[in-house]
Amino acid sequence: MSQVAQGKGRIGFIAGFLFLPLALYLTFVIWPYIQTFGYSFTNWSGQSPTFDFVGLDNYAALMKDEVFRGALWHNLLLLVFVPTVTILLALFFAFMVNVGGRSGAGGVRGVRGSSVYKIVYFFPQVLSLAILAVLFGAVYRSDEGGLLNGFLTKLGLVDPAHPVEWLNQPNLVVWCLLLVVVWHGVGFYLVLFSAAMQSVPKDIYEAALLDGAGRAQTFLKVTLPLLWDSVQTSAVYLGIAAMDMFVLVSTMTSGQFGGGPDHHSEVMATVLMRNFLYFGKSGYACAMGVVMLVLTMILSIVTLRATRRERIEF
């Protein structure tokens, strides 16, 4: 740190520079976070200025809330499948793009047109989730006008008189949502892993090639261990996204703030919003927020712990 920066008369400067950012951050981020904990012990409706302290009643009610438990289950399902599927696909494609085109001795390089693939794959990432919701709402339409049903009908796999009700089938809806998240995410993680792969010195790949390693072996023994840090970070990010899911569920599925059919696609965030804005149970909604926080923290710590390995320097 700069020695010049030390000295008297700088306290004013430091305080001046910190004041506004800190004030905004405290008002709109930290204070609401802290208040959530407080409100979660009350029966506050959000409308009336008065409320009573009810202790752990909200949390006890949460445990018995069938809808919330279902939502928690769906979040956990997504938590397992979103990161796994996205990371596996992204790793596979990243490896293809960067090492897939190797040919001849000593040449390790990406397939022809690899930059075009990277441009195309990444595009969903700059689209908002609201656009994705409308887009996939149309793709999953439950008549022949949906892209998916249209194709399957054309191929003769679906009877045009009884198209698949993608988002209205209790046992399909979560998986339909999962596909949207994967479609959205793969490109970004492909680019992320590509960047990491490119920072691996070419000699390592060439050495593996000279040692007679096949493609699968190169991937498992060389690429994957060197990318482990990025994979770990990605798992945490995707896990946090899987805990959220509010935009897609609330806009693509039926019901007030989504969650349909019959709560089969409910996630914690949609139950929270419904209780807050629709049922006017603010205290109860706050308790859900706290549960989400605790689960997110546990998730991050467990992912980082479970995937911890010896760091490889190169």
Binding site: A5, V29, G104, G106, I204
Partner: protein, 308 residues
């Protein structure tokens, strides 16, 4: 690392065998060819899966409502742009304007305030420095849902529900953790010598920041800037809670994402889906243009922002 690195002589002998560029063919070459087809096959399928739905949706703007309800693979019958103009009239133009108004203020303000805090925390040792830093950065770990209920009432108490300034301040506050985190690590890498020279020249701390350090941090600012632009442009939860008309006379100031979802409900009732598809296409095009023009910076910016 246990990989056995071959002696340099051996490797270079192998490499020079191909007279500079390795040729396709030979044992390893034909192996490469087969695998090349294999990789291209998978890569092409995924590329189609990305592009096809987007083109299909854009084409839907040229269909009639009954055609959209009919076969999905039908070719549009009507090549007029009237669905686009109707979508514009239904509010897409306004939603664009609202979003732009907010971002014209929120993005520069985010960058300025975030950089100021990050700069002081990165380069001025003072008691509690680390504490402030972790305090700022910790906000990135929590899901926004946790704060939503009290945030709503906080903004209400400040009488800023459904106002641009309210949303701007909230956007700036929620972008702070990441901006500070990223710019902090960036300011630390800047050389001290430049700072010292400026001090000897008699520049004040504030002046050094604005005229020396901030211009030097430009690559970092671009990376975080992209991250903030995309994040705030695509934000849905915050506006849908904070930007609802409060009284009958309160005008609606929906953001683009919020407006699109609104349009989806509305068009579902009015059965005018071409308008919805046109609206989404209009919302998609600027992002596509911006992305294609700056794709290198956007990809680099987002990946470095995530990996830091």
């Amino acid at each position: 690392m246990t990989t056995v690195i071959k002696a340099p002589g051996e490797a270079s002998a192998e490499r020079s065998g191909g007279s500079g560029r390795p040729k396709e063919g030979g044992n390893t070459g034909s192996d490469g060819m087969v695998l090349n087809v294999f990789s291209h096959g998978f890569l092409a399928v995924w590329a189609i899966l990305i592009v096809l739905p987007l083109i299909w949706l854009a084409l839907g703007s040229f269909k009639t409502d009954s055609q959209i309800g009919g076969s999905a693979l039908s070719w549009p019958s009507n090549w007029h742009f009237d669905a686009f103009s109707r979508a514009w009239d239904k509010g897409i133009g306004d939603y664009f304007a609202h979003t732009l108004i907010v971002m014209v203020f929120s993005v520069p303000l985010t960058m300025l305030l975030g950089s100021m805090a990050a700069y002081v925390l990165a380069r001025y040792p003072f008691p509690g420095n680390r504490l402030f830093y972790y305090f700022f950065v910790s906000g990135a770990m929590f899901p926004v849902f946790l704060a939503l209920v009290p945030l709503f009432f906080m903004v209400k108490r400040l009488d800023m529900l459904n106002t641009y300034q309210g949303l701007i301040l909230v956007y700036v506050a929620y972008s702070m953790p990441f901006t500070v985190f990223f710019m902090h690590s960036f300011f630390r890498t800047l050389p001290t010598a430049v700072h010292e020279a400026a001090v000897i020249d008699g520049a004040s701390d504030t002046r050094i920041f604005f005229q020396v350090m901030l211009p030097m941090a430009k690559p970092g600012l671009i990376s975080v800037g992209i991250f903030n632009v995309l994040g705030q442009w695509n934000q849905y939860i915050l506006p849908s809670v904070l930007m609802q008309p409060q009284t009958g006379s309160d005008p609606e100031r929906y953001m683009l994402t919020q407006g699109l979802i609104q349009l989806q409900y509305q068009m579902g009732y009015e059965t005018d889906l071409p308008v919805l598809f046109a609206g989404v296409t209009i919302a998609m095009i600027p992002m596509l243009v911006v992305y294609l023009s700056f794709q290198r910076q956007i990809q680099a910016g987002l990946t470095s922002a995530t990996l830091k």
